[in-house]
Structure formats: C-alpha cells, structure tokens
C-alpha cells in the first residue's frame, strides 16, 4: 500500500511538473511573395515632355518609369495578367529627388523588397508603387510645368492615364481614393504641387525632405539663410551681360556645389528667363540648349550683389512656394487629401528649416496632417535621405492606411 501511495504521489507530481512543458511556438514567419524584378514602362514620347522651349534634348520625353507590382499578382514578364484575375490594387506614385534616375532609385533603395515584406507581415495592404523621375541635364526642374517640360502634367496626366488604362489596367484601382503621391526632396515638392493642382486625382500626399516653405518663418529663412548664402559660398559667380552667366550644368550632382545645383533647378522651374525681361542682372543662360536657337535661361531671385530681385522672388514665393500657395490661391485644395511630411534634423540642405516653418503654418490650418522629424543616432545623422529604409516604410504605411 505504501509503495503504491509513493508511486501514485510521484506520478501525480510528475504530471503537475510536466504540465508546463508544452512547447510554445513563435509566430510563423510570413511567406514573402515577390515578383522577380521591377516592371518598367518605357515610352518613347511622353506627350507633356515633348517639344518644350528647351528642346527634347533637355526634357527627355523618352523616359522609363519603374513599377513595383505586389508579389501575389500572377503577372508574366510581359505584364500580362490572367483574365481570371480580379483583384485591383491602390497605386502610390513616388517622385525621385534632384538628379535621381527612377530605376537607379528603385534598385538602390529596394522599394519592392520593403513593400513586399511589409505586405507579407500585414503592415501595409498590397499596392502598386510607380517610381518616376524628373531628371534632366540640370538635375530637374522641381516637377513643375516650365520651359524644360511640363513635368507636373507628365505625372498627373500622362503617367496616371498610362497606369489606369494601359498594360496594368487590369490590376490598377483607378479610384481617386486608391491613389496617392509621394516623393523625396525635389520629388516631395513635386508631389505636393501635383496634389494641389490635381486634387481630384489623389487622396493622399507625402513628402520626404522637401522644400515646402522656402521663405522666412519662425524657424528661419531657408532661401536666404541656406540656399542663397550657401550658393554664394560655393563660389557662384555672375558675369556681366552680354558675356552672360552660364548655368553650370555639367554635373548637377557635383557634391561640392549642392546649393548651387538646387538653386538652378528651382530657377528652371520657378523663374525661367522671360526673353522680354530687359533686366539681365540675375540672368543665366543655358548653354547649347536648344542647339542653334535663341538663348534660353533662368533668372535667379537675386543679382550679383546678392540683392533680391523683387519680381523674380515674388514669383518664386507667390506662385511656387507650397505654404504660400496653400495660404492663397490653392487654399483648400488639399482639404480632402491626407497629408504627411517629414524631414531629417541634420539635413544637408537645411530643409529642417523649411519643414518646421511649414509645420508651423499647417498648425494654423484645418488640414489633417502628420509631421515627423527624424533624429540621427550615435554618429549617424538624419540627413537628407540616409534613413531611406525607415522613410520608405513610413511612407508606405501612411499611404496604405489611407487607401
């Protein structure tokens, strides 16, 4: 009897002890579905970029757009989707920065890999990401309609229609509610301009490190304190007319003159030279474009003495500054658009000034928006776009939540 009791007692104890032994399982690793590569839309002639005053040599109407398709889509390498496939996806348009080619951007920052993983984890809904650039020999014209090409129309009209009605039409949800636009730097600025001018097409807009407020504000004056001052430090020199200044377009990505490069790209978009303007104190000609034609060029908003040229500067601010546009002629244009913008606090272009000022402005408005500031860690600063991974993740999540 005693032995039996002992055995029973030990057995019972063992059962109690082992009751906590069940192996627990970690969450199952999601299967990441992927397309083998990006898709590319190469079109020989995007209408909005054809035949601008500076010639096609400058606007490059033959452009390639890069498209990231959700991995779950049974699409072949020609872009064909089975007729039985019914699912359609929201589309995010992403505009690259100054001097950035779309394919280089897509391959460098691995937008498709990031989107696929976030999709697999259920952190975003599957979406199509269209990466377009506004690159030209000057690095870009800030995606506005100008003498270098009608980039804004290219994005909002040509490219949108191409996506909605062409080869991807079977998987593109063409509802405005399912369409967003974003960009980095110059592209972020372009995204806001496009969204303000074509609010009927986009339900959400976002910008990474974009110059959204270029003039003075409570946090400083981005143009005066940074862009103009730095360009002067970079040895921007003026020559008297008729030995006209020449836009330094040999290397728009020359890292020794970043402010100068941005200055001329903005001038290309915001203040192309009016041939009827007799004041040449801020005029720079664009050498050899177009070949054999009358010289075309841009006006900087200041002259060789560093003084603002009021008429030019007023045009920069009143017609091109996002903050000023939203306060004036474009007021309410983003009333139905979800807004996100962010900046790194150690931005090489000092865009934290512009974004802080824009945030101050937005706080006085009735828009629904999110503003985020990136800080660096250790000796790793939050510069213009070196937190690429984090920023792409944030952008994708923001737009996904609004689709």
């Amino acid at each position: 009897m005693r032995k039996l009791s002992l055995i029973l007692m030990l057995g019972l104890s063992l059962i109690i002890a082992l009751s906590g032994c069940k192996k627990r399982k970690n969450p199952v690793e999601p299967t990441i579905l992927k397309q083998p590569t990006y898709f590319q839309i190469s079109q020989n002639l995007w209408p909005a970029l054809d035949n601008p005053p500076l010639s096609n040599q400058f606007s490059i109407p033959s452009r390639t757009v890069v498209v990231s398709i959700p991995g779950e889509v049974p699409i072949d390498n020609q872009g064909h989707v089975p007729l039985t496939w019914k699912k359609k996806y929201p589309v995010l348009y992403f505009l690259t920065d100054f001097g950035q080619d779309a394919l280089t951007f897509a391959q460098t920052y691995r937008v498709n890999d990031i989107a696929d993983e976030l999709t697999a984890k259920g952190e975003i809904q599957p979406m199509i990401v269209v990466i377009a650039d506004g690159n030209n020999p000057m690095g870009g014209g800030f995606y506005v309609n100008s003498i270098g090409g009608r980039y804004e129309d290219y994005i909002a009209l040509d490219l949108r229609l191409k996506m909605d009605t062409s080869i991807f039409t079977r998987i593109v949800n063409d509802s405005t509610k399912k369409r967003g636009i974003s960009g980095v730097g110059m592209g972020g600025y372009g995204a806001f301009r496009v969204a303000m001018d074509y609010p009927q097409f986009y339900s959400s807009v976002s910008a990474i490190s974009a110059p959204l407020s270029i003039d003075a504000g409570p946090n400083g004056d981005w143009f005066t304190d940074y862009l103009r001052a730095t360009a002067v430090q970079e040895s921007l020199t003026f020559s008297p007319y008729p030995d006209s200044n020449i836009v330094p377009i040999t290397d728009p990505l020359d890292k020794t003159t970043p402010a100068t490069n941005w200055l001329f790209a903005m001038a290309l978009g915001f203040s192309p030279h009016d041939p009827g303007d007799t004041d040449s104190s801020s005029y720079f000609k664009i050498e050899n474009y177009p070949q054999g034609g009358p010289f075309r060029g841009v006006d900087l908003p200041f002259d060789s003495a560093g003084s603002l040229r009021a008429s030019i500067w007023t045009n920069w601010v009143d017609s091109n500054d996002v903050k000023t546009l939203l306060a004036g002629p474009k007021a309410g244009s983003l009333a139905n658009t979800k807004i996100y913008f962010e900046v790194g606090l150690q931005d090489s272009y000092m865009l934290q000034i512009a974004n802080k000022n824009f945030n101050n402005f937005m706080a006085t408005q009735s828009y629904t928006y999110i503003y985020h500031e990136y800080t660096g860690y250790g000796s790793f600063p939050a510069d213009h776009f070196n937190f690429a991974f984090d920023r792409i993740v944030a952008i994708l999540k923001f737009h996904s939540s609004n689709f």
Partner: protein, 509 residues
C-alpha cells in the same frame, strides 16, 4: 558504529552496491557535458531546495557541502546520493530593440517571442564518508551544478532590402541569440564536530569547470569599411546599410578554484545556528569567437562605386578568432537558523548576500588576428578585424549584489515520511542597463517549494517541486554601457516563470 562501514551487509550485496555506485558515478560524470542548465544560481540539493534554501542552520544532508559544510559533521552515517533535477523555464520576451532614435534594427519588435522551449535535466551526485575511527570526521566528494543558464532565441532578421531575397540563398541563422553557462563543481569537503554537541566546522574546495556560450548579432558600422563613397561619411550611407551584420558566436571553457567555509553552532537543544562563506572564483576562460558576416547585396551601390563590391555583393564570410577572458563568479555570505519546535516539526530561515557585482564586464581579449575572405575571394584586412573594430570588445554585465531571504519548514507527518515546504525571495542581480533575454534572471523572484521524502531502511527517496514566479519587467531605454558601439541591454517586456522537479535517492551505510 565503529566497524567497517559495510559491516551490516553481506559481501555480495556490497559488491553489487559498489558496482552500481561506480556505474552511476561514471554516468553522472559524463552526462553533464550534454546538458543545459537554466537560471544563474541553481539550488543545490533536493532537500535544501524543498526548504527554499533555508538550509544553513540545518545542513543535514550531503548538500551541506555547498550550503554549509559544517553540517556534514552531523551526518549520522556515510551516504551516497544522486539527484535528477528537471528545470522548465518559461520565458517570454517582447522585444522593443530600436536604435536610440527609434529606428528599427531588425529585431522582431512588438511580437511576443519564446525561446526554444526545452526541459533541462541535470544531475547532482555525492558520496560522503563518516570516519568514525578518525574522531567522527566526515569527508567526501560532491559533484553538482551551482550555476547555470541557457536559452536560445530567434529574435532577429536583417531589415528588408539588406539582402537580395532572390539572389542570397544563405538565410540569417535562425538561432541568433544564445547563451549557455554551466558551472560544474567538483567539491571535496571535510567537516568535524570540534565541540561535542555544540560546535562544528567545515571546509570545502570548489574545483569548478565552466562552459560558456554567448551568441548575438554584432553591428559593424559601414563607415569603417574602405568604400570610397561611404568611408567615414554616414550621410552617404543609406539605411539599412548603416551596419554590416555579424553573427558572433563565442564558446569558452575554463577552470577555477575556490573554497567555502562553514560553522554550525548548537545554541540550545532546539536551536542551531549556521553560517557559511564561499569565496569568489575566477574562471579563466579560453575559447573562440566564430564570426559570420552577412554582407548586404545591392548591385546598384556596387555599380555606383566599385570599391563597395567586396562588401555589397551578398553572401557571407566566416572566421574564428581565439579569445580569452575571465569570469568572476561571486562570493557569498550567508547565515541561518533551525528551530526544532517539536519532535516532528522544524522551522528554518536564512539570509544570504551574493556579490554579483563582481560580474562587471567580460573583457574579450583577442589573441589572434582574424583573416577574412569575402564571398568574391577578396581579402578583407580592414574593418572586419575583431582586433580593430568595436565589435565584441566585451560583454557587459554590471550586475549588482543581492540579498536573498529564505524560510522553510520540515514536518515528520508519519513514520518514515517527511514533508517539506519553503519559500524564498531573490532579487534580480541584473540592472536595466544590461538586461537581456539570454540570462533567465529577468526580475525579482519569489519561489514556492514543496517536497516529500520516504525512508525505507537504508534508502531514502524523495521528490520536490519548485515554482518560481518572476516579476514582469519592462525596459525602455537602449544602452551602450561601455561605448563599444554595441548595445548592452535589450529593451522590451520580459516575463517568465520556472518549474522545477527534483528526484533524489539516498543510500546510507
């Protein structure tokens, strides 16, 4: 009983028992090399465990060798013991490991993670002889595991875009965080009653062998690499390429020696006082750090800058470097009493102080220079050399001293049957700055213990069960204590419990 110690057994029986003990000794000596332990401090001895470690004032079995060797003097007979401990830790960890600015590193944040759940089995074994002819000296050898820990986790995966999932077929190691720490103590002891029925003294020698494994990812700043466009220019390095990921897997072993002293004082017929001191033990560890670097794969970066080719073409490279370090195990000072309230009922209480603050930083001294060869065959002499990088310069503990309280009770409720119960409160030694999921000691602990034993002639069998409740703990701030560029704590939410069972068998002769 002054005659030969086996005088009450026939010769054949003695041979059988001797053979069994010999075989058992051999088995038990070899098994521990295959075992894992868990929990930094382990309770030694089933009876002591059942009493919550409130054992210094009683110390009436072989485990007195660890708790208070003076108690060995009061063994009535020689005895041989074997114990099988079964430990079942149930850790849970929800990582929140981000860079100081909140950016992701690749940890599976905000997800409840479990280690590979395992049941740890480990034995203790001892034989002590009562030399009646030598004035009642008791001497013998115990073999046990006083410290141990171990866990293996899958907590990390490189960020999306770091590798090319369509080209890189070498996945990052599934078990990416691992610790195993076992100290095996070969413990000869001797004890003698120096004042009859009043005072006994004991002395033990702790010959300790330690096996130590430590594995976690290291992060090598890309700006250290000789890539023209990135070298020392973090603004030109795009995340997730700000760090090159290295799987650092260290394995060491080594020996150390210490002593322990004990005193037992019979204050009155019903009250015994016990005190003990264990010296610190420094274990010289020698081993290797097997390092595997997982290179990112980004053909566009290579196209833009050919000097990035060796580092941005995917694949992995391995090397192994010899490493030496010293593990400084703590001293312990403890005291307790046993109060025999009646013939059947005894109460015990203990307090002990353990100098875990000796566990500061495990400095890793690399004595060989690692040679790296990239997947493309390039010799990488710069940046990935453990002699020249901040990776793995030291493992930060910075633990703090702790004071533990224990109470226990023993009740002879029936002839040959004894019931035991115990409780202890044991604060965690690990501060926020070095808390990690690898070491089980997540938080302050409260332990409940129950046990039964049964005597049959010269044999005694017993069982007890322990449940340890850990406080939940949350760490929010990531810390790099020694400034080597590698964070030393793992923010997140910690919770755990532990179940243990002890089966023991004693033969007295």
């Amino acid at each position: 009983m002054n005659g030969p110690i086996y005088s009450d057994r026939s010769g054949s029986t003695i041979l059988t028992i001797k053979r069994k003990l010999f075989i058992a000794t051999l088995i038990l000596l070899f098994i521990p090399q295959l075992l894992w332990a868990s929990g930094m401090s382990l309770n030694v001895g089933a009876k002591a465990s059942a009493l919550g470690g409130a054992f210094r004032g009683l110390a009436d079995d072989w485990s007195a060798a660890w708790w208070n060797p003076a108690g060995l003097a009061y063994l009535q007979k020689s005895e041989a013991n074997s114990i099988l401990s079964i430990i079942i830790p149930r850790q849970k960890y929800e990582p929140d490991v981000r860079l100081s600015n909140g950016s992701e590193l690749g940890y599976r944040n905000d997800e409840t993670r479990f280690p590979d759940d395992r049941i740890f089995y480990y034995p203790n074994f001892s034989t002590f002889y009562k030399f009646q002819s030598a004035g009642g000296i008791t001497a013998g050898m115990a073999f046990f595991l006083p410290y141990g820990l171990g866990s293996r986790w899958d907590l990390f995966n490189p960020l999306a875009g770091y590798i090319d999932p369509l080209k890189d077929t070498i996945p990052y190691a599934r078990i990416d965080h691992e610790a195993s720490f076992i100290v095996v103590d070969f413990h000869p002891s001797i004890a003698k009653e120096v004042v009859k029925d009043k005072l006994a003294l004991g002395l033990g020698l702790a010959i300790q062998k330690s096996d130590f494994t430590w594995r976690r990812p290291n992060f090598i700043p890309t700006i250290l690499l000789p890539i023209t466009t990135m070298y020392q220019q973090p603004e030109n390095v795009n995340r997730p390429y700000d760090n090159i990921i290295m799987d650092s897997h260290m394995e060491f072993d080594g020996w150390g020696v210490g002593i322990n002293l004990g005193v037992m004082y019979q204050l009155s017929p019903k009250v015994k006082l016990g005190g003990s001191y264990r010296s610190p033990v420094n274990i010289k560890l020698t081993g290797h750090n097997r390092m595997s670097v997982y290179f990112p794969n980004n053909s566009q970066i290579v196209t833009n800058d050919s000097t990035a080719q060796p580092y941005f073409s995917g694949g992995s490279a391995q090397t192994s470097a010899e490493v030496k370090t010293t593990l400084n195990l703590p001293a312990e000072l403890g005291a307790g009493f046993a109060y025999q309230a009646s013939d059947k009922f005894t109460l015990m209480a203990d307090i002990s102080w353990t100098s875990w603050s000796r566990m500061k930083i495990l400095d890793l001294n690399y004595s060989t220079k690692a040679q790296w060869v990239s997947p493309a065959g390039d010799t990488l002499n710069y940046g990935l050399n453990p002699l020249g990088t901040p990776a793995d310069s030291g493992i930060v503990f910075n633990w703090k001293d702790v004071t533990r309280f224990s109470v226990g009770a023993e009740y002879h409720f029936k002839e040959n049957w004894i019931a035991r119960a115990g409780y202890y409160h044991d604060p965690t030694a690990i501060p926020d700055q070095s808390l990690n999921p690898l070491v089980l000691d997540f938080a302050d602990k409260n332990s409940l213990n129950f046990g039964l034993s049964y005597k049959i002639n010269a044999y005694e069998v017993g069982y007890n069960i322990e449940y340890i409740s850990y406080d939940n703990r949350e760490i929010t701030q990531i810390k790099d204590v020694n400034g080597d560029g590698l964070f030393d704590n793992f923010p997140g939410s910690y919770s755990t419990a532990q179940y243990s069972s002890f089966f023991y068998f004693t033969y007295r002769f």
